[in-house]
């Protein structure tokens, strides 16, 4: 399988990365080189093989459903580019 420029632009939008026509053109070649490389996986017989979900067999850890942390809104917003009264500020989303 290979991608064309239109597909690259669509994927870039899905990934929320702005691309110029020049970027999209360059990326098309690069992505096709990588997709060409991974193509060989198709030749592996995987009949009856389960896809891996956990590399080390272990039971899912669970914890008590209790409040164990919190009350640190100041810490959470400390690194944000724009805040007001412990809220993250973003451009208007709903008109």
């Amino acid at each position: 399988m290979s991608v064309d420029i239109a597909t690259v632009k669509r994927v870039a939008h899905l990934a929320r990365i702005a691309v110029s026509d020049e970027d999209a053109h360059r990326m098309t070649g690069e992505l096709n080189a990588i997709l060409g490389f991974v193509e060989q996986l198709g030749e592996v017989n995987v009949e009856g093989v389960e896809p891996m979900t956990s590399v080390i067999p272990m039971e899912m850890k669970k914890r008590q459903d209790v409040v164990s942390d919190g009350d640190k809104a100041g810490d959470i917003v400390a690194n944000a580019p724009a805040t007001e009264e412990n809220f993250f500020l973003v451009p208007k989303v709903v008109e």
Partner: protein, 493 residues
């Protein structure tokens, strides 16, 4: 003072406990070495002079009362991927500009609890995506090693290139690193240092910037095998904050050193003899086989039939996980924000400016293979192949193989801005051909220096072990180290 920086962790530990040296003296010696060399080597992207001296002073107080921890007063460098409270943590990316976490990663917290001293944050490939440290926003790191009679600057490998270069150039006693496809072992091999990626689940991933969560593991890069054992003991823990942290006590790895490998079965996988492999790598491998045989180990030929599919499967699984993990960098909660006319444009511009080329490439691949219509053909297929890769290893371990010996890398260090590598991303990816299988199967792997090539550059061998059998790796690597000797770069910087 330069002599102090030549001490291994184990030697420095003994001298500190015997009060022959102080932690402040040792830390000052390293800070001096960093200040003199870093402009050239570029291993550190932030040096924490004041914090280091304050930590060393505290260490001296504890040492005076004979209350020192396992790493009391030992100065370490920390890869920029580890969250360090109040200190630059950016995974060497522009997108995390100015980020200083309000928390400490579990691995670094363990090190400080054992008395270690932080010298600063180390350079790396952006978000640990790279094999040469050239994708860093902070510029490439220079390998302290150069070919005989050459002034050409070489890469230290990656992604933990700053860690490997700092250890090799005596700019820290040891360094933390992480390994998703070879990012500890390949730079260790390129710089004549020791690097171990432990079993998945041995070190907590909590507080480490995530790249590919099912593959990422932290481990140390050090000057010798003993130091790696000492450091891993402190880094590893059982952590309720990481659901993939495995509930097993951490053994005393250092106790495994010096134990005999007599009667041990060492597997030699025929699939690792790849086309175009330089004869020097083959010769090094044969030397490693001979050393272990001489030490009484039994050498057995083995087959890991799905080896060639590990790298292509990795280049689906790792970018898929990365595209998901890196979705959080959107200009809202931390780091860079580039304004746009609406929120979507703000996201797109922030990510376009904040991420470098390699990171964008991997996010794009990951987004594509997870997108509707391609998920089964790529992602599910790759995860099935991963099951087969893991089964290859389980089969040989089941047949009684104790550890597997392979080359660590298909070549020695290459030049900074190598034209062939720059022209073809797949060529760069092939650096990880011998290491990536280990991450896909979650196994422990250690790279240990084994010799120099004809240009005088270091080459490493890799040992792969059963899950949670790091002790066998330390034991066996120690035998190789004793036979091969240690290698030091001639100082030119």
């Amino acid at each position: 003072m330069t002599e102090l920086t030549k001490l291994t962790i184990a030697d420095a530990r003994a001298k500190l406990r015997a009060k022959e040296i102080t932690a402040v003296e040792l830390t000052d010696a390293y800070l001096g070495a960093i200040d003199a060399a870093n402009e050239t080597i570029n291993a550190y992207i932030r040096v924490t002079h004041d914090k280091a001296r304050a930590m060393a002073k505290d260490s001296d107080e504890r040492l005076a009362k004979a209350q020192g921890g396992a790493l009391e007063g030992i100065p370490l460098g920390i890869k920029d991927l580890f969250g360090t409270e109040g200190v630059h943590t950016q995974a060497c990316s522009h997108v995390l500009d100015g980020f200083e976490p309000r928390y400490e990663s579990t691995v670094t917290a363990n090190l400080w609890a054992d008395g270690a001293v932080m010298l600063g944050k180390l350079n790396m490939d952006e978000f640990a995506m790279g094999s040469s440290n050239e994708t860093s926003y902070y510029g490439p790191v220079k390998n302290p090693w150069r070919a005989k009679g050459s002034n050409l600057d070489l890469v230290p490998g990656g992604s933990s290139g700053g860690s490997a270069a700092a250890v090799s150039a005596f700019l820290c006693a040891g360094a933390t690193a992480t390994d998703t496809g070879g990012s500890i072992r390949q730079p260790a091999a390129f710089t004549g240092t020791v690097g171990i990626k432990p079993t998945y689940g041995r070190c907590s991933r909590w507080g480490i910037v995530a790249f590919a969560s099912s593959l990422d593991q932290a481990g140390p890069i050090t000057r010798d095998v003993r130091d790696a054992a000492v450091m891993l003991k402190s880094m590893a823990s059982v952590d309720p904050k990481d659901t993939t942290s495995v509930d097993r006590p951490v053994p005393d790895y250092e106790a495994a050193l010096g134990q005999s490998v007599k009667g041990m079965r060492i597997g030699i996988p025929r699939e690792y003899r790849v086309d175009g492999m330089p004869p020097e790598i083959e010769a090094l491998w044969q030397k490693g086989i001979a050393w272990l045989k001489d030490a009484g180990a039994e050498i057995v030929d083995i087959s890991l039939p799905h080896t060639k599919y590990a790298l292509p499967a990795y280049y689906i699984v790792a970018p898929a996980e990365a595209s998901s993990n890196l979705a959080r960098y959107d200009g809202v909660r931390y780091g860079l924000r580039v304004p746009g006319k609406d929120i979507v444009e703000m996201y797109e511009k922030t990510r376009a400016e904040g991420f470098g080329r390699e990171v964008k490439r991997r996010i794009m691949i990951g987004t594509y293979v997870l997108s509707a219509g391609y998920y089964d053909a790529y992602y599910v297929q790759a995860q099935k192949v991963r099951t087969l890769i893991k089964k290859d290893f389980e089969d040989v371990f089941h047949e009684g193989v104790d550890a597997i010996l392979t080359p660590a890398t298909p070549s020695a260090a290459f030049g900074i801005a190598d034209q062939d590598m720059a022209a073809d991303p797949v060529k760069m990816y092939l650096n990880d051909i011998f290491t990536v299988t280990v991450n896909m199967a979650g196994l422990p792997g250690i790279a240990v220096p084994a010799g120099l090539d004809e240009k005088g550059l270091p080459l490493g061998l890799q040992l792969i072990g059963r899950p949670f059998d790091e002790e066998t790796l330390f034991r066996t690597a120690h035998v190789i180290e004793k036979a091969a000797g240690r290698f030091e770069a001639g100082k030119w910087w």
